[in-house]
């Protein structure tokens, strides 16, 4: 919630100053710069950085509908899959797009990913109008149903598109259709920056206030004038769009796509990151994805085999004892009279 500083956004002139003083924004800028520095100085392998960005990307995407509006979409991997397949199929079959994706230092790939994201967004918008009438577990289950519908349909249809070349629903892009990983990084980086900006903007805007009201009590929000149906659809569509884009670039980075992109496991990743970090904030998914990435690695190195079992236990502990996640924990405290809640969000 945009609270705390009195002169926030309201009075002109102080706006820039305010933003500079906002620790949230500073942290976000810091994270973005961190990624750039790590990349340029070669502090981590490109693959590692891509993975971190991928995690952060899907967490921030789902955050728009789950974090702000409180609609837990357990089938959100569907948009990852839709974006991934849309991208790969486009550049596989459409030569001009395949050429475009290699232009402009990654800007081309970014643009094709936008197209793929739009495809995911179109699906989100059309089914969103229907499934967003459902609440709570029913919505969660409906999105799972959506995910499996798409999974099985792609499994059925994709092999038919080019039976000689495709292995089942798996498509491997030929050498002339892939993009150098440096460029994919650029495209992903740009996507992530936009995603951060969108999250931040939502957090600070009337739109975000409306979504939070929906999360708290949808009926009361509607009576208070929040156009709940429209807001939910917009949030869901945005979430679908960005998840689709990330799925597209993730697939491009991997040089192809298969049906595992629809796996509930990806939904699990997204939800866990948001829950660990803290629902309904911008920093939550960012911190959550960094922790998740580290945790994932750490557990994998130290407890191979049982690493994901431990992860499940950790998630249970978070849900039971720290339901608001890390940022939620911090927000309760004050430092020198300043409520952390006001500055962290």
């Amino acid at each position: 919630m945009a609270a705390g500083h009195d002169n926030e956004m309201g009075t002109k002139g102080s706006t820039l100053e305010h933003y500079l003083k906002s620790p949230t924004l500073l942290i976000l800028v810091f994270v973005v710069l961190g990624i750039l520095v790590a990349r340029i100085m070669g502090m981590s392998t490109l693959d590692t950085i891509m993975t971190v960005m991928y995690f952060m990307g899907i967490a921030l995407s789902l955050n728009i509908i789950m974090g702000f509006a409180g609609y837990v979409s357990f089938g959100h991997a569907v948009f990852l899959g839709l974006g991934g397949y849309a991208y790969v199929l486009m550049v596989y079959f459409i030569k001009p797009l395949a050429d475009l994706q290699n232009t402009g230092y990654g800007l081309g790939a970014f643009l094709v990913a936008v197209l793929a994201g739009l495809f995911a967004a179109a699906v989100a918008a059309s089914v969103g109008a229907a499934v967003l009438r459902l609440r709570g577990a029913f919505f969660a289950i409906a999105t799972i149903g959506l995910d499996f519908t798409a999974l099985y349909l792609f499994k059925a249809v994709v092999p038919e598109l080019n039976p000689e070349q495709f292995f089942g629903a798996q498509i491997i892009l030929p050498a002339d259709r892939i993009v150098e990983k440096d460029l994919v990084f650029n495209a992903m980086f740009l996507t992530l920056v936009i995603l951060l900006a969108v999250n931040y903007y939502i957090r600070k805007s009337p739109f975000g206030v409306g979504l939070t009201a929906i999360k708290e009590d949808e009926d009361a929000a509607e009576v208070l004038g929040v156009p709940t149906t429209m807001y939910k659809i917009v949030a869901f569509t945005l979430a679908g769009f960005f998840t689709g884009m990330v799925g597209a670039l993730f697939s491009l980075n991997g040089g192809g796509v298969d049906e595992t992109l629809f796996n509930l496991g990806h939904s699990i990743d997204m939800i866990v990151m948001i829950v660990i970090g803290g629902l309904g904030t911008v920093l939550g998914p960012v911190i959550g994805s960094l922790i998740y990435f580290e945790l994932y690695d750490l557990l994998l190195v130290h407890y191979p085999g049982v690493n994901l079992i431990i992860l499940g236990v950790i998630v249970a502990i978070v849900v039971l004892f720290f339901p608001e996640g890390l940022i939620g924990l911090l927000r309760k405290y004050r430092v020198r009279g300043v409520r952390l809640r006001d500055v962290l969000e």
């Binding site: 609270a3 956004m9 309201g10 600070k204 805007s205 708290e216 009926d219 009576v223 004038g225 409520r339």
Partner: protein, 257 residues
Amino acid sequence: MEEILVVDGVTKRFGGLVANNKVSFSMRRGEILGLIGPNGAGKTTLFNVITGVYRPDEGRVIFKGEDITGKPPHVITRKGIAKTHQIVKPFNDMTVLENAMVGALFGKRAHQITIGQAKEIARRSLELVGLADKADEFAVKLTLRQKKMLELARALSAEPELLLLDEVLAGLNPKEIEEALEIIKKVKVERDLSIIMIEHVMHAVMNIADRIVVLHFGWKIAEGTPEEVANNPEVITAYLGDPRYALRFVKRKGGGE
């Protein structure tokens, strides 16, 4: 004077139950209209029809000359009608100030004001209802009385022309009732409001309302000045059937207020 609201033959059914039965009345701008009736008479339902939460099975609702029947609640709110909930519905994990800001951001001037302006509007509403010192508390921490006042503050933040109050006095002690009535009178003048209030606290509504509409089993059984209504035999019978209010009513008639 101009009619701000016309309710015209509104019928609302829930399955076999007719919660509002051909209810008609109109109110002038600047009026305070009391809406009374025994439990289950259909008062809250009528509010929900006016604010668009329910679509009536028959009849129309006309606000400032415009037919708003069946429009979604958020549209109606933006046209200038705000409502408090009988069963309070605070946004628990938001602060009191933020609660009121929602009212401002999506009320009469939705999409025309900034977060900063909304905050100012919200602050003023909180001051009006006496919650200013709680602005930074989480709504979940408020007492029931404070939550009722928060309902009022949220509604006021929407800057409505017509305010619908659903039992804002219920559960308050006599002193608090007096204070709340003062607040309502004050905002009415200050904001040039028209108000419909559902109330079971009989002396309060008799005292403050210009006119009163009485519902019983979904029907409108009486309408008029407080005096007229209080002496209407049908109304008395209706209330005598409801032991909760019979006593108070009789007491009042005996002039013991």
